[in-house]
C-alpha cells in the first residue's frame, strides 16, 4: 500500500505531515517582511543591474571614391569552417572582376578562426598597400 493511501485511511493529510517541522529536511527560512515605512504600499529595492561602459567612439576611415583599380582583401574568419565564406567570396570576386576593371581581390583565411588574431594578414594588407577589406562571414 502506498503511503498516501495509508495516511488517508488514518485520516491524516499528507500535506499536513509534509508541513510539519519534524518532517521537513530543512527548517523553514524566515524572509524579512517588506513594508513601506510611510504606509503607502511602496517599497524601495536595490538595483541588480550594472551600468555598461559605452565604448569610446572611433570614426570610420574615409571611404574609397571608386573600386576601379583597387586592391581589396577578403578576410575569411572561418566561422564554422572556411568553406562557406570561400564559396561566397569566390562569387564576389567574379562579380567585382566583371563590373570593375583593374580590381584585384585577395582572399585570406585567418590562422586562428574568428576569435583569434592573425598579425600576418594585417602585415600583408599594409605591405601590399591594399585599399579596402571585407571581413566575414559570421552567423
Amino acid at each position: 500500500m502506498d503511503r498516501r493511501k495509508m495516511l488517508a485511511l488514518l485520516g491524516i493529510s499528507p500535506t499536513l505531515i509534509a508541513g510539519s517541522p519534524a518532517y521537513a529536511r530543512t527548517a523553514p527560512r524566515a524572509v524579512p517582511e517588506v513594508s513601506s515605512a510611510d504606509g503607502s504600499g511602496s517599497i524601495t529595492v536595490m538595483n541588480p543591474a550594472i551600468p555598461g561602459k559605452l565604448a569610446t567612439r572611433v570614426p570610420l576611415v574615409p571611404p574609397l571614391d571608386t573600386l576601379q583599380n583597387k586592391t581589396i582583401y577578403m578576410v575569411n574568419l572561418s566561422w564554422e569552417g572556411p568553406d562557406a565564406a570561400n564559396y561566397f567570396y569566390g562569387a564576389m570576386r567574379e562579380w567585382l572582376d566583371k563590373h570593375y576593371s583593374g580590381v584585384k581581390t585577395i582572399v585570406k583565411v585567418t590562422a586562428e578562426g574568428m576569435f583569434g588574431g592573425d598579425p600576418s594578414i594585417i602585415k600583408e594588407i599594409i605591405a601590399n598597400k591594399a585599399d579596402a577589406a571585407i571581413v566575414g562571414v559570421a552567423g
Binding site: P48, L54, P59, A132
Partner: protein, 446 residues
Amino acid sequence: MSRWAKQIQMQCKIPAIGVASSNIVHYATGYVSKYQTGMPIRYVSVPFPFTGQPRAVDVGYVSGKDMLTGQPLMSAVVNALTGPLTVEEKMSGAPPEEAVEPRLLPPDSEENLRMLFEDKEWTDFNSIILPTEKRVTAMLKGTSHKPDEVIKTINITGGARQLTVEKVAINAVMAGASPEHLPVILALATQAPFGNSTSSMANMVVISGPIRNRLKFNCGTNAMGPYNRSNAVVGRAFTLMSKTAGDLRNNVNAWETLGNTMQYNNMCYGENEEALPDGWDPLHVEMGFKPTDSVITVGTGWSSIASVGASQSIYPTHYLMRDYMSSFCASGSAATIVIDPTVAGLLKDVHGFKTKAQLSEWFSQNVTKTNASYWGNGVIQSTAVPFALAGLEPYASWRKLPDDALIKPFTNSKAIHVVVAGGKVQTMWFVTDFGIRRGVSIDDWM
C-alpha cells in the same frame, strides 16, 4: 568580426566592412558598436543559415539581396565601401551619454517592482525575493569582503560591467539564498556569466569540500534534482547574476536559438565524496586543492546523456559510456561523467579502474567516431579547422583521412573528468560534454 574590421581600419588605415548573416547582424551593428568597438562598422547581410549550405546557396547569396537594406547585395557592398560618411560615422571621443544605473530603484508597489524586474529580464521568470536594502545588508553579513569590492569585470558582450560583492548579494537575495550561501555564490561569481552562444550551451556547477555538509548541499539521492535548497539557490543565483551582470537579454545579446533548460539551475550539485571508492580522489583534490578546502567548479557544455537503465553485466558499464560519448563533438577533448557511487564501485572493483585518471585515460583511448562525424560539427569547424590549417596534429592528419575513418577525438584524458554523486539507489550515470574549468576557493570568500 567587428573587432577584426576595426583593427584593419585602425592599423591599415583603409575602409573595412563586415558581412554577417541576418541572425546576428543587428547585434553587430548595435550592441557591439555601442559597447565593444565604438566604431560603427558598415555591414552587409546575407540570409541565415550561411554555413552548412550547398555551395550553390552561398554563391547565390552574392546575386541576392542585402538583408539590411533590401538592395542587391553587391550594390550594398559597393555603397558600404564608397558611400560618404554620415555625421555619426565621423564621431570620435567619449559617447555623449553614459548609461546610468541608480543604486536604488524608484519606490513602487511590490507588484509593479516584480513586473519591472521581469520587463528588464533580471529574473529567470520564476518568482524572486525582492532585494530590499535590509535583505541585502543581512545577506552581506555572510562575507567579510566589502560590498564595493570588484570581483571581476564582465565584458563578454562588451560594457565592462564591474561585478561587485554588493551586486552579487542582491542577486543572492533574489535567488532565495541565505547569508551562509554568499561565499559560495561569490566564488561562483568569479566564473560569471554563464555560457551564451547561438548554439545553446549550458553550465554545470559542482560543490566540493566541507562546505557541502555545512550548508547541506545534496550530494546523494536526487543530487541533480529539485529537492534541496542549497543546490537550488546557488545554481539559480548563477543564472540571475549572469543575466543581470552580463546584461543578457533575449534577442539583444542572448541568442541561444533553442535555449537550454539547464540554465535554470546550471546542474548545481555536490560530489558525494564520502562515497568515493578508495583511491578515487574528489574532484577538487584532483585539481590540487586540499581535501579540507571548499571549492566550487564550473563546467560549460551542451549535452547530457543518461544511462537510462541500470548497469548490466553482459555489457560493461564503461563500454556503454564509451558508446554514448562517441556522439559528443569532443570540443576541447572535454567530457564530464557523473556517476552514482554504486557505478564507481563497479568500475573500480569489477573493472579494475583504481583511479578516476585511469578511467579517463581509458575513455581517451577507446572513444572513437568517424572522421566525417567529427568534422561535421559546427563547433569543431570553428575551433579545430584553424588548427588543421596551421598544421597542428592530430587535426592536420585527420583532415586528410577518408570520411569513414575512425579517429579518437578525446585526445587529452586530463580534460575528461569523473564526478561521483547520487544516493546508491540505482547504478545510473550521465555522460556529458561539459568541459570543466579549474575550481575556485569558496574559503577565500568567507
